[in-house]
């Protein structure tokens, strides 16, 4: 329809805007078509939409008024179009007619760029004037010295220009219609959010930073002690949230007396962002696109593009699936079909920007009846797979237990139940739990099997979901503990804070009074509506982006564990919950924060060998406070050793083997069959194995020396473990890895140096 003359052309069509407009207008001119009078039609439809919208808001009817007003568009689409247009007009677009493009093709990219820059520069003056006018409009009525001609009532205050100044970049991905275009949504008229001029918002984004003197100062978070973030927390704008992250960390650095490293160069930030968001370095095309993009919001656009890509969904679906299942998850075709389906289900949800709470609710709610663990449902029902996977793995892990021989259905076995409860606790707030919380009898948390032997009663045995469902009750006690945990505590202990704020270990007995009869759906609803699981998600994201958790429950010193970190985590979690934001929004906030731009330190083997003890301590302190980031510039390859539990099993089975790098490397080739290795005879290496051993020989060179130096220090085991992971992976260990390292430490009889060597070697095993 656009250009009829091109229909039958065999030549490569060139885009000629003048031709297309001419052709379309010619159709009207030769047919003598004139614009129809649509006034009555518009008024009728407008009334219908307004009435529908009004009825919807007064009755809290969540149904889209679009459906019963007969509109072509939903209300959000109306809002989006209006806000985008208002934003463009506020920037001066459409108020100046740009000169025609000289290039004959009219589509020359360079000419387009120049044209865009011209428009941008040409409209700066207009924008500045418009900003002045906006400033007048946005001054609260109480601050105006004299009433002016500007209407004062609320309806007028939320005008189109006001709407244009409210930028929210979490909405659906917007097409860059103009070089400066940003996604703008209409502000909620009932919101108490203060107007925040567009230019100022953009200026606060990383890369567009302005001097502190001119930068809007957002106070650090102030959350009352022992107080859950209010359920009425307002949904804040993205840039305000990013500003709060920055200010909260600045506040922490100032209080602790740490000077953050200077900001990194743009190119390094591009690489760091891409690594964090999509797990790879930026392509040359992405870098070039960023370079030629002269708009003020190019950093935001760059991050938005990455976050809305399929690569983001794929990478983060694996991470989220691993978080839910409690194991490392890979989404490639080598994995079992049901697991792939599970990862794909999460990836689709992330692509569609589904609220994280909704994903968790669906995953936990499952079928209405008892869990169905048939093969078909595992492939099609994510909830069924989630449960079955946890149960099966726990069964394998505890195969020495007599329970595996029983004829009970899988979901009724205690081992699986405990595993499911523990995993649910992790997802529901990064918490650990101990046996005595659910079992009668003495508290014997040292060994699971011994404990099973000493007690028979499992609370809620008759109702599978009763124990995990009691989380909603437990959280009442637990939600304050993470905030105020100032002591280094063993990871296998569950602890809580009493009414006086003192930290206490859990004792035997019922964890809490559970009202009613909790069911699986009760738990699922709790995951949907509670802010606690969002905290776990914040930790997951922060850990992936900054390579260490925001608030690790274990291993923080008193000053590091100050409330600032926990408050920041709670704030981010509450904003996720309040706004029902998707995971991409959270990643975006963190990556666009100024803290993500501080310079880094690569704490690799050579660095450890040269550094003094003071340097090691200072650098570690800086990195633990996000004032310096652990550099991960070199790509990190995954080891074939998937967990330290696996290494511990291998060590137990090969006790007589010398615990050197060669043996471990060979073990890495076939770690699942530890007993297959001959213990005395010299192994015959295949060609592939030799190549593998040669490739890994270099990283092993100085590990023993590093481990000896670290082990000789007075550092606690969690600190030593952090150094081991910094050497091997350029990151801090996750909570699961911390737990597993304890197992390995036991397996090598508390020899810290030897354990460190093994951990580092195992991590480097497949490089």
């Amino acid at each position: 329809m656009i250009d009829r003359d091109r229909d039958s052309s065999k030549e490569q069509p060139t885009f000629e805007p003048a031709d297309i407009i001419l052709s379309n207008l010619l159709n009207d001119v030769v047919c003598d078509h004139s614009p129809p009078d649509l006034t009555n039609r518009i008024v009728t439809q407008l009334n219908r939409v307004i009435v529908a919208e009004s009825a919807s808001s007064t009755t809290n009817n969540l149904a889209n008024p679009q459906e019963w007003s007969g509109s072509l568009f939903s209300l959000s689409e109306y809002d989006e179009a209006v806000a985008l247009a208002a934003s463009e007009i506020a920037r001066g677009y459409g108020l100046i007619v740009p000169p025609p493009v000289d290039d004959a093709s009219g589509s020359n990219q360079l000419a387009d760029e120049q044209l865009s820059v011209w428009i941008q520069r040409g409209t700066m003056l207009v924008t500045a004037l418009a900003a002045c006018v906006l400033a007048v409009l946005l001054i609260p009525p109480g601050l105006q010295t004299k009433p002016t001609g500007v209407p004062q009532n609320k309806d007028i205050a939320v005008s189109q220009m006001d709407q244009a100044t409210r930028v929210d970049q979490t909405g659906p991905p917007q097409v860059a219609n103009q070089p400066n275009s940003v996604a703008v949504t209409v502000a909620d008229p009932d919101s108490n959010e203060r107007p925040f001029p567009n230019e100022r918002q953009l200026a606060t984004a990383p890369g567009n930073r302005v001097d502190n003197a001119t930068k809007p100062q957002i106070s650090p978070i102030i959350v009352a002690n022992n107080q859950e973030p209010s359920s009425s927390t307002k949904r804040m704008l993205d840039n305000d949230i990013i500003g709060i992250i920055d200010n909260q960390l600045k506040h922490l650095w100032k209080r602790v007396g740490v000077t953050p490293q200077p900001s990194i160069k743009t190119e390094l930030w591009l690489e760091r962002s891409a690594l964090a968001i999509v797990g790879r370095l930026p392509t040359a095309a992405e870098k070039e696109a960023f370079r030629i993009n002269k708009s003020e919001s190019r950093n935001v656009e760059y991050v938005d593009k990455l976050v809305s890509s399929q690569e983001f969904s794929k990478r983060w679906s694996e991470l989220v699936a691993g978080h839910y299942l409690g194991k490392r998850v890979v989404g490639d075709r080598s994995q079992p079909g049901p697991q792939l389906s599970f990862v794909k289900w999460i990836a689709d949800s992330l692509s569609n920007k589904v609220f994280v709470g909704e994903i968790e609710r669906e995953m936990i709610s499952g079928p209405s009846s008892a869990p169905v663990l048939e093969s078909q449902s595992l492939r099609t029902d994510p909830a069924a797979f989630w449960l079955a996977d946890i149960l099966e793995r726990s069964e394998v892990d505890h195969r020495e237990s007599s329970e595996h021989l029983s004829k009970k259905p899988l979901e009724q076995k205690n081992v699986g139940l405990v595993a499911a409860a523990r995993q649910t606790m992790r997802i529901g707030g990064n918490a650990s739990m101990v046996c005595s919380q659910c079992h009668d009898g003495e508290s014997r948390n040292d060994d699971f099997n011994n404990y099973l032997a000493s007690t028979q009663t499992v609370r809620g045995q008759d109702s599978f979901w009763k124990v995990p469902a009691s989380l909603s009750g437990m959280s009442l006690d637990r939600r304050v503990l993470g905030v105020r945990a100032l002591k280094v505590v063993k990871s296998s202990e569950y602890f809580f804070e009493d009414a006086e704020g003192r930290l206490k270990l859990a004792l035997a007995g019922p964890p809490t009074q559970i009202s009613g009869n909790p069911t699986r759906s009760t738990l699922a609803d709790w995951f949907r509506s509670s802010v606690e699981p969002r905290r776990a998600m914040v930790e997951l994201v922060w850990n992936e982006v900054f390579k260490q958790p925001l608030f690790p429950i274990f291993g923080l010193t008193e000053e590091e564990g100050n409330n600032d970190r926990a408050d920041l985590r709670d704030f981010l979690a509450s904003q996720m919950q309040t706004g029902e934001r998707d995971l991409g929004a959270l990643v975006r906030w963190v990556v666009l924060s100024s803290a993500f731009r501080v310079d880094g330190q690569k704490m690799d083997s050579p660095w450890y060998l040269k550094a003094t003890a003071e340097q090691i301590a200072e650098t570690q302190k800086q990195t633990r406070l996000f004032a310096s980031l652990v550099s991960s510039e070199s790509p990190i390859l995954d080891s074939k050793w998937t967990s330290m539990n696996q290494v511990a099993t291998w060590v137990k089975a090969n006790r007589s083997y010398e615990l050197n790098s060669q043996a471990l490397a060979q073990g890495a080739i076939n770690p699942t069959s530890p007993n297959s290795l001959p213990k005395t005879s010299k192994p015959n290496y295949s060609e592939d194995q030799v190549r593998f051993l040669v490739s890994v020989s270099k990283p092993y060179r100085n590990v023993s020396e590093i481990a000896d130096r670290l082990a000789a220090s007075q550092m606690s085991w969690p600190m030593l473990l952090e150094h081991a992971y910094l050497v091997s992976d350029s990151r801090f260990p996750t909570q699961i890895e911390r737990d597993e390292s304890e197992t390995l430490l036991k397996a090598v009889e508390q020899d810290r140096a030897k354990t460190l060597v093994m951990i580092i070697n195992a991590r480097l095993g497949s490089n």
Binding site: S8, P17, L25, L26, V43, V97, I156
Partner: protein, 191 residues
Amino acid sequence: MAKSSKIFSGNELTLQPGPSPTSDISWDASVLITNHQAGVWRYLRSIGCDHSLADDLTQETFVAVLRKPFIQVSPAATSSYLRRVAYHLLVSFRRRQKRVVITSEMDQLDLQWMRWAGIDGDGSDLTEALEDCFRRLTKRAQLSLKMRFGENATRELIAKELGISEHGAKNLMQRAKILLKQCLDGKLNRD
């Protein structure tokens, strides 16, 4: 800034002219619709909407704008604002239809419209200029374009009617369009 005028507020829109008690209104919604609907419609037509879609999107543009309070800043700003709303609704509409929307091309169409119609024009000048330019074409060129754009005739049919080859008909129409473009540029040069 120009005088601020509230043209719509409340839950029900009426076409009763006259000022609202809350502001010095010299306009009402009907004035806005009357003054700008033709411009929005022509704009939508010129960037590729058929008649039916142009009608619908013109209606939806005013619904989108008038369902919230509106402030008139200047005629040019209002005109551009309505046009941009229409533009974004069209983009949404096409996305929903799973059609590829090349926004850079859409932007070029928008810029070209502004060059010819002006930032505050409703396209009537452009249409008049085009009619004038069209009348200056030779009868054969006019006939070929009328058949092509008015009757949707194929190139083969046009060639047969004019007694020339198909290739000749194509050249004739291309030359005619170039002349029209030059004529419009001459008449509407706003740079």
